[in-house]
Amino acid sequence: MEVLIPTPLHAYTGSARVQARGASLGALLADLDRQYPGIRFRIIDEQGRMRPHMRFFINQVAVFDLDQALGETDEVVIVQALSGG
């Protein structure tokens, strides 16, 4: 399925839209990390928690659970909520 990547992570993917696979959000992130080593740790911490300001949307709906199931046609958007100075 297609995953939209936020600009701070383009250094890993080289583009805004990439293809990845997985039956859950967690599996999808594992596949992204397989393709783009290191990307997962920048957005998921070592305790398996989403890092602050990193948001995940599936078909326009915010998701907070890495076990969230994914279907073949789902659209995944990863967003970094910008803040700070």
Binding site: P8, L9, P37, G38, F41, R42, I43, I44, D45, E46, Q47, G48, R49, R51, P52, H53, M54, Q80, A81, L82, S83, G84
Partner: protein, 380 residues
């Protein structure tokens, strides 16, 4: 790296809140060539050149929102490669596991361990790499030991930028003898490669009303070990400037000899590469609400030539007034040339240098982001 004390090229590695810069000069240290920014927009807490090979650079980075990582370069910053496994705490199933906010401190290990590095993090954690910084693992008992966890306190007990483990020092005579410092959490040493640690708090003061026997209340700001006398350490602490001569275990508050109007509070301390009686500090205002600025808006380095019995003010070339910046604990360093070059970076983004051991200062860069760390290295 062995070199002639009067020749070679000098590199300053400047880590800032919004990127990293390298400044190059020759042994005269009059003219500086700037290379940067590297990692523009990234938060760089420390950048260190490996003195064992003279070419491997490690940079501890994060951005405002992405997780922390470490980058490595072997061509003086022309190209960088991210660590395969950055420092990270061990996962805990019960939800009590900690998360590395940022890697704060990098230390190359003993010369007999050429690819080994240590890293200190915020919150307090100690990590080790055995492959030149490519992959990192939790090191020693510290990260999960219940006593240490209690002494570390919570994020609320730490410094504004987060509680941190810093000043990882390797005894040049023994790779298993390490010192570490935690803000807060005190000073500790291991003589068995991290299997056990002993607090090293004798003689250190704490804030009035608290128990100096409890490591929780200790806030070492920066500790350095004398290159030519590994039995001597200097410490800039939240509560003064101290010296420790081993095998003794009682720190002496040598900062009591500082002028009363200036005091002996500050963040950094740097040591002479060849004379264990000489070191330099950068005092800051630690009164009332702790402005952490140069006392009176008149910045000055203070140096001692007699192990802290007397201190000399070194402010020639520095602003005479209305300068309200701070020099953070990693933002002051020295080279190993003769005379010794001293360098510091300010919270207002100025980089200052002295090529004559502090007698005269010159600003070699301004308008940089807030400077977190300055490391000096001599090559060739």
């Amino acid at each position: 790296m062995a070199h002639d004390k009067t020749s070679g090229s000098v590199i300053l590695l400047v880590a800032t809140r919004k990127g990293a810069w390298l400044f190059h000069s020759d042994a005269r240290r009059r003219d500086w060539r700037v290379d940067g920014p590297h990692f523009l927009g990234h938060i760089i807490h420390h950048m260190v050149l490996d003195p064992r090979d003279g070419q491997t650079l490690l940079a501890a980075t994060r951005t405002g929102h992405l997780g922390p990582t470490v980058y490595r370069s072997t061509d003086m910053g022309r190209t960088w490669k991210e660590a395969r496994q950055p420092p990270a705490f061990a996962p805990q199933a019960n939800g009590t596991g900690r998360t590395v906010d940022h890697t704060f401190w990098l230390t190359p290990a003993h010369g007999d361990e050429p690819d080994v590095w240590y890293a200190g993090t915020s919150p307090q954690g100690l990590f080790r790499s055995q492959d030149g910084g490519v992959s990192w693992s939790p090191f020693s008992i510290i990260n999960d030991d219940p006593h240490f966890r209690a002494w570390m306190g919570t994020a609320q007990d730490g410094t504004p930028d987060g509680p941190m483990l810093h000043s990882i020092i390797v005894d040049p005579r023994d790779p298993t003898h390490l010192y570490i410092a935690m803000s807060g959490g005190g000073v500790h040493e291991t003589r068995d490669g991290g299997q056990s640690f002993t607090p090293l708090l004798g003689g250190l003061e704490v804030v009035e009303g608290f128990n100096p026997g409890d490591p929780s209340f200790h806030d070492p700001h920066c500790i350095r070990l004398c290159p030519t006398n590994p039995d001597r350490l200097y410490q800039q602490n939240h509560c003064g400037i101290y010296r420790l001569d081993r095998p003794g275990d009682q720190w002496q508050r040598v900062g009591r000899a500082m002028p009363e109007a200036v005091g002996d509070i500050g963040f950094p301390v740097v040591l002479h590469p060849r004379d264990a009686d000489r070191c330099w500090v950068f005092p800051m205002d630690g009164t009332e609400v702790w402005p952490r600025t140069a006392p009176g808006g008149q910045p000055a380095v203070y140096g001692t030539r007699d192990a802290g019995e007397h201190w000399q003010r070194l402010d020639q070339g520095l602003p005479a007034g209305q300068a309200w910046w701070t020099v953070k604990r990693q933002a002051m360093n020295n080279d190993s040339l003769d005379p010794v070059g001293l360098y510091f970076g300010t919270t207002s983004g100025e980089l200052w240098a002295s090529s004559d051991e502090g007698a005269q200062w010159a600003c070699i860069a301004r308008h940089l982001p807030e400077i977190y760390a300055v490391e000096a290295a001599v090559r060739g």
